[in-house]
């Protein structure tokens, strides 16, 4: 296979050279970070008063973690390392009702971020000959504009359609013979469920690839997407605190995501002790910018759970790979004392062939006990079967779940289209237990 590269030299750099680049850049980052009130204090407390105090990459562990609340408390300018007149872009987290999480970009920051996305897109085999329908929301959210800039640099034909409006998305895929989609996995599955309504058959479309991200999803969901649409789906990873999309992306082999290690230092820590764990062990992803001048971020606790695997990839890239996001430290449910991750539930139900594309996890209290209900949509023809068959299916799904999460949830079967749909990040958990 001819492996496509955006920047072959940096993507295939041997480990020693890559670490040399990392150390130089980490020192540069420390010198930028020291210009901010926030890191001025934080680094001083760790005995780091100048870049020279960073002797090796191991010194990274001396730096205290940064958490989301630090960004909020620093608002508006506590983490800004340049004059506002040098800032050319502001992004901000959506959905927060209180103080927003704000990210500042200097022109060179935008340029480097764009380059990482061009590299990511190219790694999947997409190129200037492709037509990209970018279904991520444009605006303050980094997902839309971020990938847009990278795709434009690659020279793709970009359709900046943004999120929502399923009818128009499908019509546009058809009209322009779109070849690449950028979309959340849940919304792509919803779009597929509407093909028949819109009179679209697979042969009418030219889609070959989808870049999926912005929400955790299981390998079975990816396979479902690939099978239903007859395409290749590439996992992508990023978060606005560290620029946005383009932190890690799958290459043509689709066996986990290369972290662009010349731009990010990745650590996996035990979320309880804060200590680094070995490669291959699951833990919380901690990221450090290696090239961001306006707003340097060091050792950011992402709350995402994953593991790194160091073995070489067939594509020749030396940048280590990150597993899919297995869950989040903050989305763990405790059901009658048992820890349950929504990702465990998704993984199991998506293995059941009768299950369609949407599901919802519902938690409430019945008396003193927590009650877990998993609502799944199944294909419509199944409802034509006998009640006994449905009951057997329900029992099978419950048993599948029990074997993974230890407890036995209620399972409800729903017709396709009857559970709520999101046009952006999916909301998979409704927890109605009283707070106290």
């Amino acid at each position: 296979m001819d492996i496509p590269f955006w920047n072959r030299e940096i993507e295939t750099l041997d480990r020693a050279s890559l670490e040399k680049v990392q150390l130089e850049r980490l020192r540069q980052m420390v010198s930028w970070a020291l210009k901010t009130p926030f890191y001025g204090r934080k680094l001083a407390s760790a005995g780091i008063g100048s870049p020279e105090d960073v002797k090796s990459l191991r010194d990274l562990e001396r730096i205290p973690f940064t958490v989301k609340d630090d960004l909020r408390r620093g608002f508006p300018r506590g983490l800004l390392a340049v004059e506002m007149s040098e800032v050319v872009r502001i992004h901000s987290s959506s959905g927060t009702t209180g103080i927003p999480t704000v990210i500042y970009f200097a022109r060179d920051d935008l340029d480097r971020w764009t380059d990482l996305l061009a590299r990511s897109i190219t790694a999947t085999g997409a190129s200037s000959r492709d037509i990209l329908q970018n279904m991520m929301t444009y605006g303050l959210f980094t997902g839309g504009l971020g990938l847009h800039y990278g795709a434009e640099r690659v020279g793709m034909t970009v359709i900046p359609i943004g999120g929502g409006n399923t009818k128009r998305q499908i019509q546009t895929m058809k009209d322009f013979q779109t070849t690449v989609l950028h979309v959340t996995p849940s919304y792509l599955l919803h779009i597929h469920s509407q093909f028949e309504n819109e009179g679209v058959r697979p042969g009418d479309l030219a889609v070959k690839r989808a870049f999926i991200g912005a929400e955790p999803h299981s390998e079975n969901t990816r396979r479902k997407i690939e099978d239903l649409l007859g395409i290749q789906a590439f996992n992508s990873y990023g978060l606005s605190e560290l620029n946005g999309p383009g932190v890690a992306f799958e290459c043509v082999h689709r066996k986990d995501m290369h972290v662009w290690e010349d731009a990010y230092l990745i650590e996996i820590i035990d979320p309880k002790t804060g200590q680094n764990v070995e490669d291959g062990q699951e833990g919380e992803v901690v990221l450090t910018n290696l090239v961001r001048r306006a707003m340097p971020i060091l050792r950011y606790r992402t709350r995402d759970l994953a593991f790194v695997h160091p073995e070489p990839c067939e594509c020749g890239r030396t940048h280590r790979r990150l597993s899919r996001i297995l869950g989040r430290t903050d989305d763990m449910l405790i059901i009658n004392g048992v820890n349950v991750f929504p990702s465990q539930i998704e993984e199991r139900i998506m293995k059941v062939p009768e299950v369609a594309t949407n599901y919802l996890i519902h938690v409430d209290k019945k008396g003193a006990l927590d009650r877990l209900t998993v609502k799944v949509e199944i294909y419509p023809k199944l409802f034509l079967g006998e009640a006994a068959r449905l009951e057997a299916l329900r029992a099978r799904i419950r048993e599948e779940l029990r074997s993974s999460i230890v407890i036995s949830p209620n399972v409800e079967l729903h017709e396709p289209g009857s559970l709520p749909v999101s046009e952006g990040k999916a909301k998979r958990v409704v927890d109605e237990r009283p707070k106290d």
Copy 2:
């Protein structure tokens, strides 16, 4: 006054040199246009088979007009002059339910468009020191992304917030001390009406300028915006068929909009005869791209009504100025046989100091006759007055309107916030007469 320029040489070019540039570029455009099936036929019918057939700018008049339906009929590729692989951006008109109007950009087209917007922004006196809150919708609509790229080139701090969410808009203006807004005039007036609810006083904000466009509005509306917010409001003009915003923009003097005549040929025609009218005479704006390679458009009938004035501007720019858009050839109402433009109504009611910021024109049938009702919001304290005073105000507004539009409409007075509000282009006319 120190007049700011983005490209002083081209902006102050003497007329003869400007026309020389125009002729060269028109020939280039013809050679590009001849590559498209649509203009291949159209130009042949006018006896133009090669760029050399264009001897002077007067030959423009030999070329048949292009109308919106031509773009629709040409969908998807009838007006495309390059290979799809050279197209890096697709924009599309919103709101159409049938076949969309689609615009293609090559990389160099985007670059030139961006430059025109950088020029436009600079002409208003805004600069890299400004913080821009871009309230136009991002995505397929050209208003959001178009100005975004220009502002980034200027080096402004761009907040890509997009349209809607008034609460968040106001909070963002306050948090980031936004200095420049890009917004429709109707939405800006709505935002102002919410300042009190959001606990914002004028002194809390740092806004100095607003770029207003995307819908026709009167000089009185502009003055109202400037007085209420204590800012300068700059008219802007553009349409997606001719790239988007940046066709014409006001300079620091705010006395109508310089048409960037090195990039667009402007004609004003009599919409009935199609003949060019003299400078200073009102008619339909017809525009020709002078630098667009992927999708060249020649003599596009915009349906916008305006006039050109040729006298020199104090700023030193030689590019002629276009009046505000006075109406559209297709928004004329015929009320019992009398032609009425919504813009005439707006102009008159916005002169009345008691009138607040929102209004609606309502037309229906009463028996055989058309009935015109103008609903206006007035300031709340006025409702505390006596009935006789309100009646007098109503009569005054009716008389003001009658003197302009000849007929006497019903006038209804409403409390602020009681008429429907749009977060994008305002919908000012509701016509409920039965179609036949």
